[in-house]
Amino acid sequence: MKLKKFNGLGQLTIPVIAIALLVIFNLIRDPGFFSIGIMHNNDGNVVLAGNLISIINGASELAVLAMGMTLVTAACGGQDISVGAAAAIAGSVFVKVLKSGNSISGGTVLLAFLLACIVAMIFGSFNGTLVAVFKIQPMIATLILYTCGRSIAYWINGGATPTVNSPIINAIGSFIPGVPIPTPVLIVVCMAIIFKLLFKFTSLELFTQSVGINGSAARLNGINATFIKLLSFIILGVCVAVAGSIGVSRLGLINHETLLIDIEMDTILAVAIGGNSLGGGKFKISGSIIGAYVIQMLTITLYAMKVSSTDVKAYKAIVIILLVVIGSPVVKKWFNKVIDRMKNKSVAAQKGV
């Protein structure tokens, strides 16, 4: 890789350093930590297994949500805290449709997913309208759905925790027969490619950034800021439906209380660790994806170290505080100053010679 200057990775410096540190730490702790094994699962398929697979697989929902959240953050300068609740709604719709027929075919699953998507997009546009049209702060606007979302999911479920048993659902949440890579990982890759194509063939990235940096300037230049903000929430809605459907498919069960619980905070964290400004403006989706994997790797590391259950969150918090502080502009500035001074000294030393 060519490094133009020290900060060659730019925005991605922090997430990449974080992931590197975690990898090194784990390799020292247990050299076999990242070894990948090949085994047969109970359905008789050949599958990959190991901590690395667990991390990448387990972070799938988080990664998908982080992609959408990055866009919302960039356009609106605020975050959607209702993604977990909205995912519970989307997941409930998904299961409701699956259970409405007698048998579950590929078509039913597709229909169920599309309906979940539409419902999530409607809720997304509800949030989006409050933020973009009524100019309510995103966190306050989405607080509404955050509060009532899981109750709505409860109504859809009719109170129980419905289960679905189907080889297709199992294939989505676990492994497609004959493919050794977990399906959720493949879905994340698809989503990332879709975002990449979206940015390549439309001006969405540029428009979002300009709206986030200065909304009125963007409007004066003919960009419909309201629409861009609304659009970011609708796109997040699609991500929510995808994440909700993955979450449901993993176990073939929807529990409106626990599906993707507390994921909104992890999602925002992933965006922050990814080096994106939570105040909006410039953004990199790849950073957020790496951020999601950092969080998951941290959790799996703590599990592997058998940190007592009551302490896990505290340890997680310590590491995250460190990451966020290191990534803060103040520390970055100070860091650059130190580097500059060292450079000057060496230059001076060379001149002296």
Binding site: M39, H40, N41, N42, D43, V47, A49, G50, N51, S54, G58, S151, Y154, G159, A160, T161, P162, T163, S174, F175, G247, R250, L251, L253, N255, E257, T258, L259, L260, I261, T299, I300, Y303, A304, K306, S308, S309, T310, V312
Partner: protein
């Protein structure tokens, strides 16, 4: 001028909204109860009036079954006139109980949101000659203020499960223990008995971790144990959902489980879907947490019995995959 009319319109709308709020609020305490008391009991002289203050059915699958059971037992056919009020908030529950006392019910049944603050209301009930029964949850008041409390004993649920496990006579017990939300009654009770076994050395703790009732988290915990290469032969999950998560991890790793399998799988709560897993032999054990207190209370009311002890422990079973029948599922299973 335009601004002024806008302002006027706004004020008008606001005042209308406020009025609407006000009028619905004044109905407030009664509105929750009116739904279920639907058919006003005109021939109510013979019916026994029962007021139930409970948590809303949306709280959990347990509560849903609990509410349904109450409605089924205290039905008109059984000679009851049932009024219900649901809230997760203690003050709203207190208000509802107050309402029932004013209405003049014969019996007051309470599952309180919080254990404190009930003294005054219960004293008023006593003065009005209303008999009070507590169900599911205890309240911090003097025993003289209620007739009886029908509750679950979570610690006993744990003991029943652990005794069952000991009866299996495994050559060794290497246990993955997945806990519920730390500090909850169910977690403390169900953890206690197993912790005693770990302490005595009879069972080995492979890992003890909380998944806070989250199915997906339970799967990750078991995955991390499998990845570490450590051996285990028992999964003790403190509810059905987490047991399902754990089993998903076993399936992906190609580890057999259930009857005839390598790993013994244990869950709690007796959801119908979980009992079906038992019936198919994929799991081994499911412990009941019974939401069915209505029958016990109805028995006390109808036969005018005074229990020997004010605290009545609701009988709870543990189901073994080898002896479970379909009729057990129909009788004891929660949900669908």
């Amino acid at each position: 001028m335009k601004r002024l009319s806008m302002l006027l319109a706004t004020v008008l709308v606001l005042s209308l909204v406020l009025c609407a709020c006000g009028s619905s609020a004044s109905k407030g305490s009664g509105s929750g109860s009116s739904d279920n008391a639907a058919a006003p009991a005109k021939s109510s002289s013979e019916l026994i009036k029962v007021g139930v203050v409970n948590n809303p059915p949306s709280e959990s699958g347990y509560r849903e079954a609990n509410v349904k059971d109450m409605e089924a037992v205290f039905s008109k056919d059984n000679g009851y006139d049932l009024k219900t009020a649901y809230s997760l908030k203690n003050d709203e529950q207190l208000q509802a109980a107050q309402g029932f006392i004013t209405e003049g019910v014969d019996y007051l049944l309470i599952s309180a949101a919080e254990t404190t603050g009930w003294d005054e209301v219960l004293k008023k009930a006593q003065e009005a000659g209303i008999k009070v029964y507590l169900f599911d949850r205890m309240i911090d008041v003097d025993e003289s203020l209620y007739e009886a409390a029908v509750v679950s004993d979570m610690a006993k649920e744990g003991e029943t499960a652990v005794n069952w496990l000991l009866d299996q006579n495994l050559s060794e017990y290497k246990v993955i223990h997945i806990q519920g939300a730390m500090g909850s009654d169910a977690q403390i009770g169900r953890t206690g008995a197993l912790d005693a076994q770990f302490a005595s050395g009879k069972m080995t703790k492979v890992v003890q971790q909380t998944a806070t009732w989250d199915e997906a988290e339970a799967k990750k915990i078991v995955e991390s144990v499998i990845n570490s290469g450590e051996d285990f032969n028992v999964i003790y999950a403190e509810n059905d959902g987490m047991a399902k998560g754990a089993v998903a991890a076993l399936d992906e790793a190609g580890i057999t489980h259930g009857v005839d399998g390598k790993v013994v799988v244990m869950g709690f709560d007796c959801n119908k879907w979980a009992l079906r897993e038992l019936l198919s032999g994929a799991w081994n054990y499911d412990g009941q947490c019974s939401p069915f207190q209505a029958g016990v209370i109805s028995d006390l009311i109808k036969n005018n019995k005074t229990p020997a002890s004010k605290k009545i422990i609701n009988e709870e079973k543990g189901f073994d995959a080898k002896t479970l029948t379909q009729s057990d599922i129909d009788t004891y299973g929660l949900g669908e």
